[in-house]
Subunit: 200 residues, 2 copies
């Protein structure tokens, strides 16, 4: 059986959000699973000395246009949020705590967090809002609140971020299929060809 | 009649080369013309403070892999050249001088320069090699040699580069269709949808 596809993302990354809406269906076409792995992109930006995309002269303005246009191209609902970038520590930790309990629920939660931010513009840096999103999915708010404060969960997020960087991650989404890394939602067609052909 | 699509590129840009192999056929499917506009990407990088892609930690190594993989994906011959980046002043000036004489010949020359560099690894920073490439297409070597030294041609290249930056260009290829800017060979599918639908 083939290894799952690794999908590294940051909830604060617009192209990660676009990929999140598309990648499971793409993988399923080829009978493949996807491991969702939130991480903190800021750590990679420090490593590579990369500035925040939207702050780069000319490129930043283009990017704002490209985010929305790419969302329309893929048919994904999208509204640039009032607050950007967004601290995603609580949301990412919540994901890993949930993942230990119920990996399907964790995926459902991740989708809800992405949409809360990238469609509804909610402030997902606020742990209270992260807990509200979880509660709306029937997740025990108090248990999650305690869970995200545990050293094990904090360490897990750190380890996933470091692990992604060790695999060459410098931006998001960063998707690894059969050892081959792909960066960006715009590489989904290449990923599809890779899965369809076993590499090219 | 629709305006031509503007295709801004630098001969030293691998993704520009990939786009150059694809864009005319794509445009022709929708009855559209393409204006090829070489410019000096370094001027835009100065403006945006962008480092050379291949020198960025992690991203650089990924990019080297992505160049070749993207070429295979598109079915375009590609071999990373021994010398990179490449000064493209002479080749770009030669293009504009030829364009004044015969715009079809200029396009043929541009394709040949791209392939000389991105397939055959020739040193296109060498004006002698640029003249050799032109001569192999039946272009008068001496006339071209004099042409690229004229103030008008030098000024034309400067004006095209400045004009591209004024239109928001920060990287290459930078393609403008009906006023909408698209950056990167990976945006060709979006350009196709744009041409097919009149914008989306």
């Amino acid at each position: 059986m083939s290894e799952p596809i690794e999908f590294y993302f940051d909830f604060s990354s617009p192209y990660s959000y676009l990929a999140s809406e598309l990648i499971d269906d793409l993988a399923a076409k080829y009978g493949r699973q996807v491991k969702w792995r939130p991480m903190l992109l800021g750590a990679a930006f420090q490593k590579t000395g990369s500035p925040l995309l939207v702050n780069v002269p000319l490129k930043g303005e283009y990017s704002m246009r490209d985010f929305s246009r790419s969302a329309r191209y893929y048919g994904v609902p999208f509204k640039f949020p009032p607050k950007f970038p967004m601290a995603t520590l609580s949301a990412a930790r919540a994901y890993y705590w949930l993942h230990e309990q119920d990996c399907r629920k964790a995926r459902e939660f991740a989708r809800a967090v992405f949409r809360a931010y990238w469609v509804d513009g909610r402030d997902i840096s606020d742990a209270g809002i992260v807990l509200d999103i979880a509660a709306s999915l029937g997740i025990d708010r108090n248990a999650l609140s305690e869970g995200i404060a545990t050293p094990a969960v904090k360490e897990r997020l750190r380890a996933e971020t470091d692990g992604a960087i060790a695999k060459g991650m410098f931006g998001a989404p960063y998707i690894i299929a059969d050892g081959e890394p792909f960066w960006g939602a715009d590489r989904l067609p290449q990923i599809e060809k890779w899965l369809a052909t076993g590499g090219f």
